[in-house]
């Protein structure tokens, strides 16, 4: 968020309504209305003084109404823009023309009551719709006594209650009596899978967030008794089932039941629920959490009308399986929950993917109007030059000065070695303070700057920018945190806080004496991509890169493109897969930017982000080898249907009677007269979720429902029985699940204790299982026994070694960050998508491939990779070539080379270095130096620590 706020190429229009969209792709005119915030964001320092003095209260919407705020407020401290705003419906001046107290207390004069709403026209090439999701209406919550009893809360409210910075500082309290609850129930599927409120879909995220909230609650209150009432536990995401098992291990109970109602009962709440076998039960709890689903945004219809795109029958944006992010209006794309309920990693993936789509749509205009800031020539600061330090101590309004005696800290530095100038500033981050800083740097010929203020994590880039503007290298800067880690946390101990601030400033100055300018380094990028794998993921990624204008080499080990999607004959939405795939392959083959290598694989690879060199070799020994130079790599090696030799402890012999879902699909798409016989039994999680594979393959439930419907279509008289553990038709696939049930497909849950018994070796398969509805053992002799066997990745181990990228214990590639960097691998310049990342349905594979292509395009669009100057450097004469650093580097950023005397030496690959310093701390001969964190600098800080 901060990064988006800081980019000179992103204009943030918050507090703004979208009104209309005219024109066509490449030349849209969007009309928006910017509402007045009555505060000038550039002047507001978010010090909070105004809110302290504002006399009115306002229910705090950000905290779900559980706390109070003021009409002049900021939702939360990290909000972007970091500026307060005034709610005109609550402000006394804006309503009644009185008060104006804030105006006089605001020291930066940021408040402006004369602001008016402003209509603006924006000329854009494409539009991304990302309005998020809406709320489940309260009427759907009433049967659970929500609104009637304070201890029935929604999961959103519960989330705020558990939050350390929330209204109760993370303490779990009942709203009725502010006591800690002893027992708590979660009710799943509130407002989802519920035709009563017209939400027939599954919200996809509630099961997982309920588990998360339950685990957090358990951390706060280890004795708390927690039960989750659910229909199906839909923890289908990567690693999600493991979280469920962890929750069970922590004592959280899971009960498969439908909760009919919640009624107040003495000091408690009484749940009435029914289980699968028809039993009715009551149980009392201290508190009830409703796991509310994600509704369509409240203004979806208005948005769709003003932008001219279609909504689906649930009022989310309408898209298709194979163009999952394209709305019905060309040039308007969609990302996030508005495309369909989804979690954070998927939303982040979609947002990257739409950026790529937009980049392709607007590629003619690329670079036009792009703001690249220029700086004056950097002044040379040599090692033997006199150190001239300027120290600035910030008041931050009263945030620091209210606790720390700022004038005495300022006085304290007088006469310290190297300090030639020191001053105080009211707000050192304000625009005018930057001007003062620049002026003082020139006036006093400062060559080091120390600012004692807030956190370098938020403000270092701002001050470094000012240093660059003043012609100083940005590394000649040290920040001392006397707010976040001093005045704010020692508010009641002004003396001790002042003492600490002095210590910290002294340590900062000690370091500053040793800081050196570091070069701004860039690494050029070859604007060519390598995509490994020619299945749906690889094809989509290659096409997306090529459409964005980059030459792409696509390597496929099979003699043809398309991968395992050739096995799919139709989709849940009825798409003709073969036709679409053929079309896609044709587009790839004809694209002038794509070079296809069939029957080939990656031999060797050398280099680093921006400059890879890969050997592509044919699979036959006499095939020729090609060397490709490229800047980025997209891994799309895919996965395949698992064929476990044993299922539920029974040996399996695959035949025309015992098949996988893929086998069945092929059979159903054929012409055999008896292809959909009288009795078909499907077994879900056959070999998955601990049976053979440890994980859930995410798509098998959809596949089973799809094929069950197909059987019913071909032969309505056929009986289809699906034995399942949790039926995971998340999202809109729930519609198909409902349809299948309506058409008479029998869905029967099975337990693992005892497991169903299979006889699947001979010509007459048999299944015996306990039917919880009939409450008896049932034996079936189906015509077809169909196993939903899950997905395994294609060979990832070899590639993982070749590229030095990690894989999970399940052999899928492990992304750099599960939520924030879902398609990037820890090694810079390497991206992953599709089944090589995790099992997922085709729609999600396409999105992920588009996202990986978009991410991979970033360094190529820029033409270079910027390297933070704080990287390691090896002093090669001192290096003894032991290789410890190379082995320890988590980013493959150190390589061993031979010097001119043929001796082994370490060398940092600057482009890959993340500056962690593990190499420096482990080098036995101190040959590695960390830019900005040298031994000398840290030792000086330690020495200064002791010098009080």
């Amino acid at each position: 968020m901060v990064e988006a706020g800081r980019s000179p190429n992103i204009e943030l229009l918050s507090n703004t309504d979208f009104l209309a969209l005219d024109g066509k792709p490449g030349a849209f005119t969007a009309r928006v209305r910017v509402r007045p915030r009555y505060i000038i964001p550039e002047k507001c320092t978010a010090c909070g003084m105004c809110a302290q003095y504002c006399p009115r209260h306002l229910v705090d919407g950000y905290n779900e109404g559980l706390a109070l705020t003021r009409p002049i407020h900021i939702d939360y401290p990290q909000a972007v823009p970091a500026s307060y705003f005034i709610d005109p419906k609550a402000c006394m001046y804006l309503k009644n023309g009185t008060c104006m107290i804030c105006l006089s207390v605001c020291q930066t004069r940021a408040i402006n009551f004369d602001q008016q709403a402003e209509e603006r026209e924006l000329h854009v090439g494409a539009v991304v719709m990302a309005p998020g999701f809406g709320r489940i209406p309260d009427s759907a919550l009433e049967k659970y006594s929500y609104g009637a009893h304070p201890d029935v809360v929604t999961s959103l409210e519960f989330e705020r209650m558990l939050c350390a910075s929330g209204p109760f500082e993370g303490k779990l309290l009942r709203l009725s009596d502010r006591r800690h609850p002893k027992s708590l129930a979660f009710i799943q599927c509130v407002g989802s899978r519920d035709l009563g409120c017209d939400n027939g879909y599954c919200s996809s995220v509630c099961c997982m967030y309920a588990i998360k909230e339950a685990l957090v609650a358990k951390e706060h209150e280890p004795e708390l008794d927690i039960t989750i009432y659910y229909i199906d536990m839909r923890t289908q995401g990567k690693g999600f089932d493991a979280a469920r098992i962890r929750a069970e291990d922590k004592g959280i109970k899971f009960v498969r039941a439908r909760v009919a109602e919640v009624m107040p009962w003495g000091q408690q709440l009484k749940l009435a629920y029914s289980t699968l076998d028809g039993g009715h039960f009551f149980k009392a709890y201290d508190m009830v959490v409703l796991a509310v689903g994600l509704d369509a945004p409240a203004d979806a219809a208005k948005l769709a009308q003003s932008a001219g795109f279609a909504l689906n029958h649930y009022d989310f944006c309408q898209t298709t399986t194979f163009s999952p992010l394209q709305s019905s209006r060309a040039g308007v794309v969609v990302a996030g929950a508005f495309q369909g309920p989804k979690d954070i990693p998927e939303s982040v993936t979609q947002s990257s993917a739409v950026a790529g789509l937009v980049s392709a749509l607007t590629k003619q205009e690329r670079g036009k109007g792009y703001v690249i800031k220029t700086y004056p020539q950097e002044q040379q600061v040599s090692d033997d030059e006199e150190v001239r330090i300027g120290v600035f101590v910030c008041h931050c309004g009263v945030n620091i000065a209210g606790v720390v005696d700022v004038p005495s800290v300022d006085q304290y530095v007088e006469g310290m070695e190297g300090v030639v100038f020191h001053a105080q500033s009211l707000y050192s981050c304000s625009q005018d303070a930057q001007e003062v800083l620049k002026q003082k740097i020139k006036e006093h010929r400062l060559n080091r700057v120390v600012i004692a203020a807030c956190s370098p994590r938020t403000h270092e880039p701002l001050f470094q920018e000012t240093l660059k503007d003043a012609g100083l290298n940005r590394c000649l800067f040290e920040m001392v945190n006397i707010r976040d880690q001093c005045s704010w946390v020692h508010a009641n101990e002004p003396q001790a806080a002042t003492f600490k601030a002095k210590d910290l400033v002294r340590m900062g100055i000690a370091k500053a004496r040793h800081i050196k300018p570091l070069p701004e380094q860039t690494v050029s990028v070859i604007d060519k991509a390598l995509v490994i794998g020619g299945g749906i993921a690889g094809l989509t990624a290659a096409l997306s890169l090529a459409d964005q204008g980059f030459l792409t080499s696509l390597v496929e080990k099979q003699p043809h493109l398309g991968g395992h999607l050739h096995d799919a004959r139709y989709t849940l939405r009825g798409d003709d897969t073969a036709k679409i795939l053929k079309n896609l392959i044709n587009q790839v083959r004809k694209h002038q930017n794509i070079e296809v290598y069939l029957s080939s694989e990656l031999g060797q690879i050398t280099g680093y982000v921006g400059n890879f060199s890969s050997q592509i070799k044919g699979k036959k020994t006499d095939d020729q080898t090609t060397i490709v130079e490229h800047g980025v790599i997209v891994i799309a090696t895919g996965g395949r249907e698992h064929r476990p030799p044993r299922v539920l402890d029974a040996p399996i012999k695959y035949s025309d009677r015992v098949l996988t879902q893929n086998d069945l699909e092929r059979r159903l798409a054929g012409r055999a007269r008896n292809r959909a016989p009288g009795l078909v039994v499907m077994i879900q999680c056959a070999g998955s979720r601990g049976d053979d594979l440890s994980y859930c393959s995410k798509q098998c439930c959809n596949e089973a429902v799809k094929n069950a419907l197909k059987i019913k279509e071909i032969n309505p008289a056929a009986q289809v029985v699906v034995l399942y553990r949790d039926l995971r038709t998340y999202g809109y696939a729930e519609d198909a699940y409902r349809e299948a049930r309506e058409k008479g497909v029998l869905f029967i849950p099975y337990s693992l204790d005892p497991k169903p018994k299979l006889n699947a070796e001979g010509k007459a398969p048999e299944v015996a299982f306990y039917d919880p509805i009939l409450r008896e053992e049932v034996t079936l002799a189906p015509d077809l026994l169909v196993l939903s066997t899950g997905i395994v990745p294609e060979d990832t181990e070899e590639l993982s070694k070749l590229l030095k990228v990690p894989i999970t214990s399940d052999k899928f590639f492990l992304e750099a960050h599960v939520k924030l960097r879902p398609v990037e691998l820890p090694v810079a310049g390497v991206y992953v998508c599709g089944l090589a990342h995790s099992p997922q349905p085709v729609e999600e594979i396409i999105v992920q491939a588009q996202a990986a292509a978009a991410k991979a395009a970033i360094p190529m669009v820029k033409g270079h990779v910027l390297v933070e100057p704080t990287v390691s450097t090896v002093d090669q004469p001192s290096c003894i070539g032991c290789g410890i650093c190379e082995a320890l580097c988590p980013y493959q950023a150190i390589r061993m080379i031979k010097d001119e005397k043929n001796k082994r030496k370490a060398e940092t690959i600057t482009a890959s270095c993340k500056g962690c310093g593990i190499c420096a701390s482990h080098c036995p001969v101190f040959a590695i130096s960390m830019g900005g964190f040298t031994d000398e600098q840290i030792k000086a800080q330690i020495k200064a620590f002791g010098a009080s």
């Binding site: 001093c486 946390v489 020692h490 009641n492 320890l888 500056g915 964190f933 030792k939 002791g946």
Partner: protein, 68 residues
């Protein structure tokens, strides 16, 4: 010296990405903790050379805190 009088000087080495960020977060939430800690920000606790720890004790630290 009684325990009431013992006012330890603790030197902390905080990882920029996690513990230092968390310490900022504690500030934003106005959590209060004893003012005995002085911190040195490093980019990863992997940077923490054991020699730094010994040196800090030599310089008079009563305890070392490391968070990463």
């Amino acid at each position: 010296m009684t325990s009431e009088e013992f006012n330890p000087r603790i030197l902390g080495f905080l990882c920029n990405w996690c513990c230092y960020a968390a310490a900022d977060g504690a500030g934003a939430s106005r959590y209060q903790y004893p003012p005995n800690l002085r911190t040195i920000r490093i980019m990863c606790t992997g940077r923490l050379d054991p020699a730094f720890v010994f040196r800090a004790f030599v310089e008079g630290a009563d305890g070392i805190f490391t968070g990463g």
